[in-house]
Structure formats: structure tokens, C-alpha cells
């Protein structure tokens, strides 16, 4: 299968996934009536990709987003090819997390999610903000705290399902100042995941392109994913939202909120 050479193709896959994926609440009694069908029609064709199971087991959602609760980056941004049923997957120049899910090898393997945003701030500034992990909870909604243990290791406390907290350690596995930070969860973590965040100069003074990618093994297979999605914490959604919040904080100094007063915050 060929993915388009140009970036435009990524949107396709993304939109299709969103159809199946979005943890969106259209609202009680909202005017969405006419819309459901239209959207279905327009997304048809792509929306089934998501339904491939990724392993089985009990519904340990904890994982899903522990891994990603942080909503951060990924690991294999491996561009290029991998195999499934001896058939070559041609990802072209597209990032790994844009490969159609059903094209990924094996059913019990890791899931790759990710997202790129352009942030109108210098690369070094963004990198150094991110490098101090203790600051990440400022924009990561589900992360209660991150304690830096030493130069490489930190301890994360993340809101788990049913409001119970999940704690795990991460270790930095790769660091190129101003360019890349990658980490992975320690071997005894409930949710095994790895994250990678890339900073590169955007063209023509637009600031910095920040690409976050995360790889995790879904805990409870399909059911686990479904439950996590219902809780609004599915890693793909979470990654997208955390990264956008990071952008908002860096560009505007605050995080957009439609609440009419502080007490009404979600």
C-alpha cells in the first residue's frame, strides 16, 4: 500500500480515524441531528480502520493512558517500511503514526499515536521548557505531578480510571539538545510506553514544528481501548489535546477555557 508522498495525505488518515475515535460529546439535546448522517457519509471509507483489535485481555485501562495520559510523544517515528503478511508497507515520507491501523503488523503489538503542531516560539525555548519534566503537568490534564529523580529518571503520578492514581517511572533514552527528547517507562510500569518529542525549525519564521509520538501496548485490548475512549483519555485523543494545550501555553501564556467562571471549569 502506498501512502501519499505529500503530507496532505496525513489528514485523510487522521480524519478517518477521528470518525471512529473521537471522544466528542455533541451535547444533550444538541442540534446535531441532521449532522450525524452527513458526517458518517463523508467519513465513510475510512472509519473502520480503528476497529482492528490490538490484543486481548482484561480491561486494564489504566494502561492506555498511563502510557499516554501524559499524552506525549512516541517512539517509533520510524519512517519507511515494515512488514505484514510479507507485504511491504510503504509509508513514504509520512510519519509512522499515520499508517492505517489495519496495515500494522500483528494484532497484539504496540500502537503508535502522534501529532505535530507548529508553535510560534523558538526551538530552544520550547525544548528547554519540555526538558524540565516537572513543568509538564502545567498543560497535561491527567498528570498530577512529575518528580524528577535524577538527570534521566522521573516519577509520574497520573489520574487513572475511576479516579485512582497510577504511578510509574520513566527514563530518558535519547536526548539531543534543542532537537529530541525520548523516554520510556520502566520495565515494571503497568503501562509500558515510550515517547519521543521532536523539535524542528518551521519554515520562514513560523516558529517550531513539534512532533509528539507515543507507542504503547493497549492494556485491555479492544475493550480497554473502548473504555479509555469513553473516559476521554484514549491516548490518541490525549496526545492531540496535550500537545495543543502545550502550544496554547507557549504562545499565549494561558490555556483556552470556555468556562464562564473558575468554579465552572471542566
Amino acid at each position: 500500500m502506498h501512502l501519499g508522498r505529500h503530507r496532505g495525505h496525513r489528514r485523510d488518515t487522521w480524519g478517518a480515524n477521528l470518525g471512529a475515535n473521537l471522544g466528542v460529546n455533541w451535547g444533550e439535546g444538541s442540534t446535531v441531528g441532521t449532522w450525524g448522517r452527513q458526517i458518517r457519509d463523508h467519513l465513510a471509507g475510512g472509519r473502520h480502520h480503528r476497529n482492528d483489535g490490538h490484543g486481548h485481555g482484561n480491561a486494564v485501562l489504566v494502561i492506555a493512558f498511563c502510557a499516554l495520559a501524559a499524552g506525549v510523544a512516541a517512539f517509533a517515528i520510524t519512517r519507511g517500511s515494515s512488514m505484514r503478511n510479507n507485504r511491504r508497507i510503504d509509508a513514504g515520507d509520512a510519519p509512522r503514526h499515520t499508517v492505517r491501523r489495519r496495515r500494522l503488523p500483528g494484532r497484539h503489538n504496540a500502537v503508535h499515536v502522534g501529532r505535530t503542531v507548529t508553535i510560534n516560539r523558538p526551538r530552544k525555548y520550547l525544548f528547554s521548557f519540555w526538558r524540565d519534566f516537572s513543568r509538564l503537568p502545567q498543560f497535561m490534564e491527567n498528570v498530577q505531578s512529575i518528580t524528577v529523580i535524577d538527570d534521566k529518571r522521573s516519577r509520574w503520578v497520573v489520574k487513572g480510571p475511576g479516579e485512582m492514581d497510577v504511578t510509574f517511572e520513566t527514563e530518558i533514552t535519547e536526548e539531543v539538545p534543542g532537537e529530541v527528547i525520548a523516554w520510556r517507562s520502566s520495565d515494571d510500569a503497568d503501562v509500558k510506553h515510550s515517547g519521543r518529542i521532536l523539535f524542528r525549525d518551521a519554515p520562514d519564521g513560523r516558529g517550531t514544528e513539534v512532533e509528539a509520538a507515543i507507542t504503547y501496548v493497549p492494556p485491555g485490548g479492544r475493550l480497554g481501548q473502548l473504555l479509555a475512549k469513553l473516559a476521554g483519555r484514549e491516548p490518541e485523543i490525549q496526545t492531540r489535546r496535550e500537545l495543543k494545550r502545550f502550544k496554547q501555553l507557549m504562545e499565549t501564556g494561558e490555556i483556552a477555557d470556555a468556562a464562564p467562571r473558575p468554579a465552572a471549569r471542566a
Partner: protein, 398 residues
């Protein structure tokens, strides 16, 4: 406080709700002195814009006095009198830097942004009182309203300009202006405008100010058409006249150089395609009814420009892409980049070059907002613009 709340299709009421307060550091709270009902509010009222929820406060055209400021609010002070753009924009992102404020990437909360990203491929900016697609921010048809990024949007207005003169800077004046700007008017050009509501009427004025040779206004309400004529437009009543034939004849057989759709997704009229749209909309095969837009595209001259200030929210059928392609038309549209136009338009109002007060047919207390909606919806010929004044005594008291 009191505020106009949407309860369901064609059901809005003035209710008592909790006061807003500062949430983010760049916020201010405004005590509203004047707020208007817009054609866009009618789309919400009719329930054709998705994701509106019962309990939402409407209103995106408002002005008033700053009564509270956030910790990092550096521009506005308590007591400032400001008009607030309906588009919420951060001023810092890629789009804001390009002055494309209505494309702001940072003003729509991330969970809400997911919806428009799915529908449109990219997220929209925040807008006051305009469904959850655009953030679910409470609107300004209320006594008080929270205004985010208040160091970017609101413009301070001098005390000697009364509310009625400057209120429309919040939306309809810049929208009519941008509609005309999108026509890229050249000398000798004829511009045809569908819809003589507030947007169409400001587009007529703006097109002349930008040097149009002739403006032709189209509607079916005699009073609204008469207002267009007062500004120098030639008029066509679509009830009595074949619009396409008339436009061809009135432009020497060439067709209008630019066309403006100031009608939007709820076209009136008994044209066959509009009746088909009604049917398809009813059975959910279509969300919007673009009859006026089809007609505009059909009438536009070869190589001409199509400007669409009228709001569309979803999907249409039988879109005349053939006419667009074969005639080589250029289409320009969008929610208005209000912030971009404010200083210039405020100057023009002050210099008396743009007339704004002619439009107002009704000034009502906020308490009578429900009746205001009914009038603007059902008696469109006479009701050209309703302005609500929270400070005004209700006729029959509270």
C-alpha cells in the same frame, strides 16, 4: 445576572443565571450596555447550526464597560468603554500574525476543537455565543460577559460616539466590509449582492466606498430593498423578477464582475432547487440550503469573484462546481477577521463616511429579547436590526 438563553428550536428566554468571573489572566469582564441580534443568531435559533446546547447564552455582537480585569491584562482598565469582536483570537499564533483572526488556533478549547477538526479538517477559532463547535463560550446578550484575550480583541471607543454608532463594529460592519473587500473591486465593476439584511446592506455601502461602478441588491422584502436603494444600489425583487436574466441585462450581457452571498444557509423562495433543498434538509440528506449561492455563481461573469459572507455549516448538494470551474471563478469566504478592520472602520464612522444607525429598527430592553428574536425572524421586512439594552427599563416592568 439576566441573560438570553437558548432552550431549543425557536425557543429563547431571558433567565437568571450566574454571573461570569475572570478565568484566565488576559480576561476582562464587561458590563454590557448594548448588544444586537444577528442573522447568525437566527441560524442558531432555528437549530440548523450543530452542537448548540439547551442552556447556552447567545449573543456575539456586544459592547460595554470593563468592570474587572485579569492579572495579566495590560491593555484595558476598569471603566474603559469597548466594542468586542465576535471572533475570539489570541494575537500570537500563525494565523493571528497573518491577521486571519477568525482562524486563530488557540482560542477554541482543545476538547471542543476536536469537533470542528472532524467536521472541517481543521479546528475553528472561538466565537462568543455560537455553539460548541466554536468553543461554547457564553454570549453577550446578557448583563455581563467574560471576554478572553481582551488585550487583542476589544477596541476602546471615544465617549462622544454613542453606542448605536459603534456597536456594529462587533460584527456586521466589518463583515459587510470584508465581503466587499473579497470582491477585489476594480474600476467599472458591477457588484451584485444577494440579501438586504444587515450584512448585505453594509456590503452595499462598502462596495461603493471601494469604488464599485454599480451595485445591484437582491431580496424580496420591499423595505429592505428600499434601504439598499437609499445607498445608491439598483434593486431586484426576486419574487417578481427572473434574477439571472435581470442581472445579465443590467450588466450589458456580461454579468456582474463580483457577487456576494449575504444570505447564507437558509435561503428563502420557491425556486425549484430551493424546494428540493428543503426536502433534502428535512430528511437529513443535506444540512444547508444554498439556493442564493447557486444563483450567484450562475450569474457571476466569467473570471469573476464570488464572495460568501453568508454562513454555511455543513454540506450542500448540487453544488455548481462546473460553473465555478468552467467560468474560472474565484471564491473567497470566511468568518470575518474583525480585529483586522476595527481601527480603520472606527475612523470612518467618526468621519461620518459610513452610516450605521440607519439600520436599527428596534431598541428593546434585554428583558424583551425573546420578542426581539420573534420580530427579527418573523417580521423581517420591517425589522432590520434589533438592539438590546440591558440597562433599559422593560415596558411592563420586571
Amino acid at each position: 445576572m439576566r441573560a438570553l438563553v437558548w432552550h431549543g428550536k425557536n425557543d429563547v428566554r431571558v433567565d437568571t443565571v450566574e454571573d461570569p468571573a475572570i478565568v484566565n489572566p488576559r480576561d476582562v469582564i464587561i458590563k454590557v450596555t448594548s448588544t444586537a441580534i444577528c442573522g447568525s443568531d437566527l441560524h442558531l435559533y432555528h437549530g440548523v447550526i450543530p452542537t448548540l446546547r439547551a442552556g447556552d447564552i447567545l449573543g456575539h455582537e456586544f459592547m460595554g464597560e470593563v468592570v474587572e480585569t485579569g492579572a495579566k491584562q495590560k491593555k484595558l482598565r476598569k471603566g474603559d468603554r469597548v466594542v468586542v469582536p465576535f471572533v475570539i483570537a489570541c494575537g500570537e499564533c500563525f494565523f493571528c500574525r497573518k491577521l486571519q483572526y477568525s482562524a486563530c488556533d488557540n482560542s477554541n478549547p482543545v476538547d471542543k476543537a476536536d469537533m470542528s477538526e472532524m467536521l472541517f479538517g481543521h479546528q475553528m477559532s472561538g466565537i462568543f455565543g455560537y455553539s460548541h463547535l466554536t468553543g461554547g463560550y457564553a454570549g453577550g446578550q446578557a448583563e455581563y460577559v467574560r471576554v478572553p484575550f481582551a488585550d487583542v480583541g476589544p477596541i476602546a471607543v471615544p465617549d462622544d460616539l454613542e453606542d448605536d454608532k459603534v456597536l456594529f463594529l462587533s460584527d456586521i460592519l466589518p463583515t459587510g466590509w470584508m465581503a466587499a473587500e473579497n470582491c477585489e473591486i476594480e474600476e467599472g465593476d458591477t457588484v451584485a449582492v444577494w440579501g438586504c439584511g444587515p450584512i448585505g446592506l453594509f456590503a452595499v455601502q462598502s462596495a461603493f466606498l471601494m469604488g464599485a461602478h454599480k451595485v445591484i441588491a437582491i431580496d424580496h422584502y420591499p423595505h429592505r430593498l428600499e434601504l439598499a436603494r437609499k445607498f445608491g444600489a439598483e434593486i431586484i425583487n426576486f419574487k417578481d423578477v427572473d434574477v439571472h436574466a435581470a442581472l445579465v441585462e443590467m450588466t450589458g450581457g456580461i454579468g456582474p464582475d463580483a457577487v456576494i452571498d449575504a444570505v447564507g444557509m437558509e435561503s428563502h423562495g420557491m425556486a425549484p432547487d430551493n424546494i428540493l433543498d428543503w426536502a433534502e434538509q428535512t430528511v437529513m440528506l443535506e444540512t444547508d440550503r444554498p439556493h442564493a449561492l447557486r444563483q450567484a455563481i450562475h450569474a457571476c461573469r466569467k473570471g469573476g469573484r464570488v464572495s460568501i459572507p453568508g454562513v454555511y455549516g455543513g454540506f450542500v448538494n448540487h453544488f455548481p462546481i462546473g460553473a465555478v470551474m468552467e467560468k474560472g471563478l474565484t471564491i473567497r469566504t470566511g468568518q470575518t477577521h474583525v480585529q483586522k478592520y476595527l481601527p480603520r472602520l472606527l475612523d470612518m464612522i467618526r468621519e461620518g463616511r459610513i452610516d450605521t444607525t440607519f439600520l436599527i429598527s428596534h431598541r428593546l430592553p434585554l428583558e424583551e429579547a425573546r420578542e426581539g428574536y420573534r420580530l427579527f425572524d418573523e417580521e423581517q421586512n420591517e425589522t432590520t436590526k434589533v438592539v438590546l439594552k440591558p440597562g433599559m427599563e422593560a415596558a411592563n416592568g420586571r
